[in-house]
């Protein structure tokens, strides 16, 4: 089930890894596991990872996608790293609020705000 477009567009901003979701839906298991594996690599590559996930393109996600994000958050925490989420649309933000994951994740309105929030 190879996809021509990688599910994450990656770049650096100083020592911060930025990963932007390229698809509007993070729903199916194969896609979620592909994203999870990429995020694992990003967490592994730094001693104390700083990772920013940009949700600009995302208009649907599932409980499995939330699980994958929590898994990444846990791994970053173990390495004393920092994770930020940004540019989440209102409908998707509601999903984070209902699941109370807005309390677990550090969510900033824009990529610029998120970049400025890293210590």
């Amino acid at each position: 089930m190879a996809e021509s477009t990688p599910p994450l567009a990656l770049c650096w901003q100083k020592d911060i890894r930025i990963a932007e979701f390229t698809n509007n839906k993070i729903l199916d298991d194969a896609r979620i596991s592909e994203i999870g594996q990429t995020l694992d690599l990003l967490v592994d590559e730094a001693a104390s990872p700083k990772l920013l996930l940009d949700f600009s393109n995302v208009d649907h996600l599932s409980s499995a996608a939330l699980g994958m994000l929590i898994n990444t958050n846990n791994k970053i925490k173990q390495k004393n790293g920092q994770l930020r989420l940004s540019d989440i649309r209102p409908q998707i933000m509601e999903v984070f609020v209902i699941t109370k994951l807005n309390r677990l994740f550090k969510i900033l309105p824009t990529r610029k705000d998120a970049l400025a929030s890293f210590q």
């Binding site: 298991d29 649907h60 599932s62 499995a64 994958m68 929590i70 409908q91 209902i98 109370k100 677990l104």
Partner: protein, 165 residues
């Protein structure tokens, strides 16, 4: 193979009552799908497309997509455990005012009462257990019967408020 399953879904919908032009349009669906994700996805998209055609608002379609996705994944993966012999039975009555959807699997069932609350502090960092919460939050009614094998859910189509005159 997926094309055959998609065709089955289309046939099931083609056999539904015809839409009426008096605002009482009604689509009926009664279909059994294989326990695989492609079949679930095809059925989900068919139902959402019908709801859009019936005038469901984007917010209402978003809610049904989220809940139906979780319901079908639960039935296919956790209920039937991807067993090719087992089917997922989906019935739906779709009108411009509401979607009434039943998803039933052939698995061992589960007890809704013992599923832990994923929003409690001690569960917040657990990676699973949010599908049921999302279904219950986004649908107006969600009820599990037949020992958890059958989920009945209802979503009212919430109309946007009229602009002030």
């Amino acid at each position: 193979m997926n094309a055959v399953r998609d065709g089955d879904v289309r046939m099931a919908l083609a056999g539904t009552k015809p839409a009426r032009s008096d605002g009482n349009s009604r689509d009926l669906l009664d279909v059994r799908i294989d326990s695989d994700f492609a079949a679930g996805h095809a059925l989900q998209e068919q139902i959402l497309s019908r709801l859009t055609g019936l005038g469901f608002t984007p917010d209402s379609v978003f809610a049904v997509r989220l809940a139906l996705h979780e319901a079908l994944i639960n039935a296919i993966k956790h209920g039937n455990r991807l067993d090719p012999v087992k089917k997922v039975h989906v019935k739906a009555v779709l009108t411009p005012a509401r979607a009434h959807i039943i998803v039933e699997d052939e698995g061992p069932g589960f007890d809704r009462k013992i599923i832990p609350d994923p929003t409690r502090g001690e569960n917040l960092e657990k990676c699973s257990g949010r599908g049921i919460l999302l279904i219950e939050s986004y649908m107006d009614k969600a009820k599990w019967t037949r020992h958890g094998r059958r989920l009945t859910m209802v979503k009212r189509n919430v109309q946007e408020p009229l602009p002030p005159r």
